[in-house]
């Protein structure tokens, strides 16, 4: 059966599509033939889209001193398709290369493995970082080399030979970077290490583009439609570091010929005042044509200067760990301030943990003052082996306190590569003891910061800042301000472990006593009430690590510092003097005459020679 009643409607549908096609044909005609705007370019070979690179953001320190800035550099670019016949010798002469070198560069450019973005149609980089003079000469002779042009770039310059671990550097993007972020084109730069990496998005700005017209011979004929299609670049944002560059430099001087780290934090804000790792390197080594060579040398260096010990080094915290134990015992009610434990040159209870000479029995504050091992072993034993509880459950509780204090996980500093340290949990010991039949004595050394426990100098400094604040901390960070923007809200958030303020007050008092009449006497600055705790950490590599953490002043603290010197002996011999010098320098701006001797000794000593470590 055929339905004729609506058959006429096919004309409506046919008419509809015919009308649309007619409209489209008229539009196409006006675009392609009628419009002069496009017609002018119809015969021209192409537009040249020249990328205008924005200035990368500048970096200032907390006092407003310029730290990182830009300097112009020139790259020789070419579009392979447009490169006509040219005099290679003339080019060699202009660029100061010999023919073999030029051929080598040419081959490198075309090698898809080295230059994954190669295409005969897009601008390719032949030579990077041309000197100012070469640039001048080339610019003059550019007409001789069709298809060639010069791209202006900026490279980084550093005002201080310091803080390379914080600042990082910039490198050319890899194929993987281009894959991950469509913003990048082969040949662009991106941040590597330090804030250059973690604040890449803020620093890089936005690329602009300039559309130029070329004639059939590839010569540039000026901008397209007077530049109305050009896009201006947006400069990168400037960063203000929380780092005090003078203090940073001073710290690096003190750590010369030593291996280790110094971290100083402003307790009230969590701002990192200095973040020293030693040995370091000159940041300007990683700029310019020599970057690749220098980088390889740094990677090969046995002392690993690229390794940021301040945030990546996981060390046994040693006695700097004792304040955490005191806090946990007090909060758990295992001890009170008047609880006394015996110490006959050590903790003797089936096994022996050695200690040094001081009165016995001993209470918490004097135990901190003298760094008594036995006190903390007894406290730990009474907590883990508490009657009516399981060791595993108690240990889990113990671990949770430490996690709250910032141990065992990354603190979240705004730098790449932070280590999380290590705090064992119950499961870890159940595995290594094949079951739950372990007790406090099995793991007793964790109570004095030895054994399985590992912490970064940053985590130790953060603990110190928490004590300085009497019970809270802000996640440490190195960038204080971003121009036209704000730093991540997580750096303004207060973290408060579940431990009462009064307990922190007791610990602070014990640390004050260590300075006035205990292990940290060297740190007793005239006119400033310093609080401190030494650490002497045994390790399997050589001499003990020398550690110190301290804050000052006692009331309303302005600085919390952690010093960690690898294989340098007692905490009191290197940790305390270096830490006290940092505090003195920051708080008073100079070192008092009475202490010049200590400063001299620290600047000139070499702990690498005496480390007892045979192979780094």
């Amino acid at each position: 059966m055929k339905d004729y009643s609506y058959a006429k409607r096919k004309y409506v549908i046919a008419g509809f599509i015919t009308t649309i096609v007619m409209i489209y044909l008229i539009r196409l005609f006006s675009l392609q033939v009628g419009d002069d705007k496009y017609k002018e370019n119809a015969d021209s070979n192409a537009f040249l889209r020249r990328v205008i690179y924005p200035a990368r953001g500048l970096v200032y320190d907390r006092e407003g001193r310029l730290v990182v800035f830009n300097q112009p550099a020139y790259d020789v670019m070419l579009i392979p398709k447009d490169v006509g016949r040219f005099d290679t010798l003339a080019l060699c002469k202009v660029l100061g290369l010999d023919k073999a070198e030029l051929e080598e560069k040419w081959k490198e450019m075309k090698n898809p493995r080295k230059n994954p973005g190669y295409s005969a149609y897009t601008p390719q980089k032949l030579i990077s970082h041309l000197s100012q003079e070469d640039y001048g000469r080339l610019q003059e002779k550019l007409y001789m080399f069709p298809g060639f042009f010069v791209q202006k770039r900026t490279v980084r310059q550093y005002a201080y030979n310091a803080a390379s671990n914080v600042l990082g550097n910039i490198r050319e993007v890899s194929a993987a970077d281009v894959e991950r972020d469509r913003y990048y084109r082969s040949g662009d730069y991106t941040g590597d290490l330090g804030i250059e990496k973690s604040y890449e998005k803020a620093l890089r700005g936005e690329k602009g583009v300039e559309i130029l017209m070329k004639d059939a011979y590839g010569r540039i004929k000026g901008s397209y439609e007077e530049g109305i299609h050009d896009v201006a670049p947006v400069s990168g944002k400037n960063l203000t570091l929380s780092i005090d560059m003078e203090l940073q430099q001073y710290g690096e001087q003190l750590m010369r010929n030593k291996i280790g780290a110094i971290v100083a934090i402003e307790p009230a804000t969590g701002e990192v005042l200095c973040l020293v790792t030693s040995p370091g390197y000159d940041p300007s080594l990683l700029v310019g044509r020599e970057r690749g060579k220098n980088y390889a040398a740094l990677v090969r260096d046995p002392y690993k200067p690229l390794y940021d010990r301040a945030i990546q080094g996981a060390y046994p915290p040693g006695s700097t760990f004792k304040p955490t134990q005191g806090l946990i015992f007090l909060q758990e009610g295992v001890v009170s301030l008047s609880t006394m434990y015996p110490c006959y040159h050590g903790y003797i209870n089936g096994l022996r943990v050695g200690c040094h000479g001081h009165g016995s029995p001993i209470a918490l504050k004097p135990a901190l003052q003298t760094s008594c091992n036995a006190y903390f072993c007894w406290g730990f034993k009474n907590m883990i082996d508490k009657r009516g509880t399981k060791a595993g459950d108690q240990f889990e509780k113990w671990k949770n306190y430490l996690v709250e204090m910032g141990y065992g996980y990354k603190l979240g500093i705004d730098l790449p590569g932070e280590s999380r340290g290590f705090i064992p949990n119950t499961e870890f010991y159940n595995k290594s003891y094949r079951g739950s039949n372990w007790s406090a004595n099995s793991v007793i050394s964790v109570s004095i910061g030895q054994g399985e426990v590992l912490a970064t100098p940053l985590q130790i400094a953060n603990l110190c800042a928490t004590i300085a604040n009497r019970g809270h901390y802000f996640t440490p960070h190195v960038v204080k301000e971003i121009s036209d923007s704000t730093i991540d809200a997580k750096y303004r958030e207060r973290h408060t472990p579940h431990i009462r303020r009064a307990h922190y007050e007791a610990i602070a008092e014990g640390m004050r006593m260590a300075v006035t009449g205990g292990t940290c006497r060297t740190a007793n600055l005239p006119g400033i009430e310093v609080c401190g705790k030494t650490g002497t950490a045994q390790n399997p590599h050589g001499k003990d690590h020398s550690a110190f953490m301290g804050f000052a002043p006692y009331h309303n603290p302005k600085i919390a510092v952690c010093v960690y010197v690898e294989n340098a002996g007692f905490g009191a011999t290197f940790g305390v003097p270096i830490g006290s010098l940092i505090m003195e320098k920051y708080l008073t701006g100079s070192i008092s005459d009475a202490r010049k001797g200590i400063e001299e000794r620290m600047l000139n000593s070499n702990t690498i020679l005496t480390s007892g470590v045979t192979k780094h």
Binding site: Y6, L28, H229
Partner: protein
């Protein structure tokens, strides 16, 4: 048996509509050449390199020819017999896709089988066409016989739309809207089509012309009010055929218009919205009073149309500002020329216009396009493939492609009308509706006349799913059409 089979096969190839086949082959070959040009790179010039887009596309084309031949060799009755079954299976696959598909650029529409990915939404098209055709083929089925028939048809259409929307593939879902042509051909009131045209016009005018203010309201809104009045009068004249009432309304409106102009000149400003609401309502009340019983329904339709138009106008700004997503607003604004936004929503369109515009009358020549070679146009081998043709083959080439598409669509209308069963006819109209939608929207967006909606240009855009989908659609139609003669034998 075997002898008979061969005879039948021969007759299929004799009876098949060769004009359509030729148009199909022209389009597919031109598509392959364009993809080769769009992804051409002098360093990888091998046209059959399967690692390149063009090489892969040749593989898809080869497979689609096989699919086409297989469909021609199959019995035409299976499509009618299994229409609902196929529809059901495809619907299940569409549902499964929502849950199984990985998130690719925010859409969950691609099923990945190792190296091959398929977009089930593409195959929803032919399944829906079959199901709709089968519904209309039911005994004594007529769209206008019962209101429930409309519902049945709309359910078949809107089930895949909603599933594809859930996969966040708005473009592919909108394609099914084109089936309105099928409903129109099968007896849906022309008023619906007219309403759609009016709605689009109102929307464009109201959104585009914000300035200047006339009678205190934007020029766009003013114009839409005027259009509502004019259409109201036209419907009285030509639909209700009531010259007397129409004449009075015209006189009334002209009088009101002159009055408000004079008052405005004298310094008494009357708000435009109030003015138009008063005269439109006045007109409606007058018509309601003057209705003649034998034309009751037509008067009611006229009144309803005017009321809905005014309601639509008031909701346009709300819908545009609050219902559409910001990127969709951006695309519409670019298409309407309200803003250029060369870095954002307008970037593709501007680049594609530059590419096409630089092609001139005869183009820059095969493989000599620079705009597309330099990869200024994003998606140039998929949704924006028409750019390559425009740039390299110029107006001559791009116009030719448009004309071939037009020829194919007109030919399909011809084929549709010569079917002897509603099944064949409805199916054919489905196919050509899809084709109309794809061609209009895709080319429209490339030349900057439509907002950017991500749907491919049939037979041209890179990708297996779309090519196979249109090949299957077309060859099933050709097979059904070939059977028309077969039956007589």
């Amino acid at each position: 048996m075997e002898l008979q089979n061969t005879e039948k096969d021969i007759s299929v190839f004799r009876a098949v509509d060769w004009i359509t086949i030729v148009l199909y082959v022209i389009l597919v070959s031109a598509g392959a050449v364009s993809i080769y040009a769009a992804s051409y790179d002098s360093d990888h010039a091998n046209i059959f390199d399967f690692n390149e887009f063009s090489g892969k596309q040749f593989l898809w084309i080869g497979l689609s020819l096989v699919i086409g031949c297989v469909i021609l060799l199959l019995d035409y009755r299976i499509w009618e017999t299994y229409a609902y079954l196929i529809y059901g299976i495809v619907i299940l696959v569409l549902i499964a896709t929502i849950f199984l598909a990985p998130d690719i650029k925010g859409s969950r529409s691609w099923l990945v089988f190792g190296p091959v990915s398929l977009q089930p939404a593409e195959f929803g098209k032919f399944a829906t066409a079959l199901a709709l055709a089968k519904l209309f083929n039911s005994y004594n089925f007529s769209l206008n016989a019962k209101i429930s028939n409309y519902f049945r048809a709309l359910i078949i259409i809107f089930l895949p739309i909603s599933l594809i929307l859930m996969q966040r593939e708005t473009g592919s879902a909108l394609v099914y809207i084109s089936l309105i042509f099928v409903l129109y051909r099968e007896g849906m009131s022309g008023l619906v089509l007219f309403s759609v045209v009016c709605a689009v016009t109102y929307f464009v005018v109201a959104v585009k012309f914000v300035e200047p203010l006339i009678l205190g309201i934007p020029a766009g809104e003013f114009s839409v009010f005027v259009m509502v009045c004019v259409i109201f009068i036209m419907m009285l004249l030509f639909y209700c055929k009531d010259i007397f009432v129409a004449r009075n309304v015209i006189i009334g409106y002209l009088g009101a218009g002159i009055l408000v102009t004079v008052l405005d000149l004298c310094g008494i400003h009357i708000n435009g919205t109030v003015f138009f609401l008063v005269i439109i309502l006045g007109g409606l009340i007058y018509v309601a009073l003057m209705m003649f019983h034998h034309h009751l329904q037509k008067y009611l339709v006229t009144i309803a149309f005017a009321l809905v138009s005014v309601g639509f106008l008031f909701s346009v700004n709300y819908v545009f500002g609050n219902v559409l997503e910001p990127h969709q607003q951006g695309r519409i604004k670019v298409a309407l020329g309200i803003e250029e936004d060369l870095r954002g929503a307008g970037y593709n369109v501007n680049q594609s216009k530059i590419a096409i515009g630089s092609g001139g009358l005869t183009g820059k020549g095969f493989l000599n396009g620079t705009q597309t070679k330099l990869k200024y146009v994003p998606e140039q081998h998929t949704d924006f493939i028409f750019c390559t043709i425009g740039e390299e083959e110029g107006f001559a080439g791009s116009a030719a492609v448009l004309v071939v598409f037009l020829a194919l669509i007109l030919r399909l209308i011809e084929i549709a009308e010569r079917q002897r069963t509603p099944f064949g006819r409805v199916y054919a109209y489905c196919v050509l509706s899809y084709l109309i939608f794809h061609v209009c929207i895709n080319i429209g967006m490339v030349i900057g006349l439509c907002p950017v909606i991500g749907i491919p240009l049939p037979f041209f855009s890179y990708g297996g799913s779309a090519l196979w989908s249109f090949t299957i659609l077309l060859f099933i139609l050709l097979r059904i059409d070939a059977a028309r003669k077969e039956r007589r034998d």
